[in-house]
Point group: C2
């Protein structure tokens, strides 16, 4: 869509007065501020962007059933994948074994849903893909901690991720997998020391 923006990073251990003012309810990132007004919660931000600037190249399809379908998978990212990945990263011992299983179940569901489609919505990169591709950045950390080769086990998801990463807008936005892995491993060490 080519919308220009300023990126302000936050130190979550020392949240800025602007973040607390703009998202007083959840006090979380990301927040999109447009014309001085905040839009909070990742998926609501993506829908706002689509409804505000996406007319020429919409992220959501126009058909209500297809809209519900891509919303379902974006919601699945939020409700299932995010907690599953987080649990693998933060849990220890038996809990980690359960988290690893749950995580693999989630990837299986996605692999099945993607099938032979290029993207979750069909032929075009869209809302469900935007919601799911950030997990690609966590893949290296996840493979390390889940003791599994997700790329090999889920070849359709692997090709899909590659396809998404060929888009400049995606490649430029996602953080480096190796840095994230180091960050997670460091964080686990601190947790284990406690």
């Amino acid at each position: 869509m080519g919308v220009e923006f300023d990126l302000r990073e936050e130190v979550l251990s020392n949240k800025s007065p602007m973040l607390l003012k703009m998202n007083p309810v959840h006090k979380k990132i990301p927040v999109l501020i447009h014309n001085g007004k905040p839009v909070c919660e990742s998926l609501l931000i993506v829908q706002y962007i689509d409804e505000t600037w996406g007319h020429e190249s919409p992220l959501l399809p126009s058909n209500p059933y297809e809209r519900a379908r891509v919303r379902f998978w974006a919601d699945y990212a939020d409700k299932k994948i995010y907690p599953a990945v987080r649990a693998v990263f933060l849990s220890m011992g038996e809990d980690r074994e359960a988290a690893k299983k749950e995580n693999i179940e989630c990837w299986k569901v996605l692999e099945g849903e993607l099938g032979d489609k290029a993207y979750f919505g069909g032929e075009r990169f869209g809302y469900a893909d935007v919601s799911l591709i950030p997990f690609y950045s966590w893949l290296y950390a996840l493979e390390t901690l889940a003791d599994s080769n997700i790329v090999e086990e889920f070849p359709k998801m692997a090709s899909w991720a590659k396809r998404c990463m060929q888009r400049e807008s995606v490649a430029k936005s996602l953080p480096d997998q190796h840095k994230l892995r180091d960050y997670i491993m460091e964080h686990r060490k601190k947790l284990q020391a406690q």
Copy 2:
């Protein structure tokens, strides 16, 4: 909107083959089946209904910022109110004290957001109200278990709920507060016995 529908109830301890087929991922109710195709997850169902049948009397506003705003409060119902109420119902001892506090915090946030508006979206009953009013059915159980008079403490929310309940579509859809309270108290007895 006057859309006709057939209601099929589910016994959640013995889910029907139809439910498992129509919502294989979450296996949860509600599911809306339209033209043989399922739409799952409550908030996605409401948006689907609005996009399919709501043209004359839409539940969501047309302005993108207002849309994001009402979506935020519907999402708040899902992410904050539902877990808070559930925690009050299911928790015991110290956990229940924490849950009671969290629950009152949520109601404070809603009371503040509603302010002097008739509905969460403004002058008209809409998407955020549809998402929040089901909690009204749990109010009697909640007051019993949270040892607080929510109706007195949150007069704006109480008037809002009354206003919503004057709508036939709302009054006819919500379950009886007393029956729900009895159900919850019975369920707690079983939990305590375990």
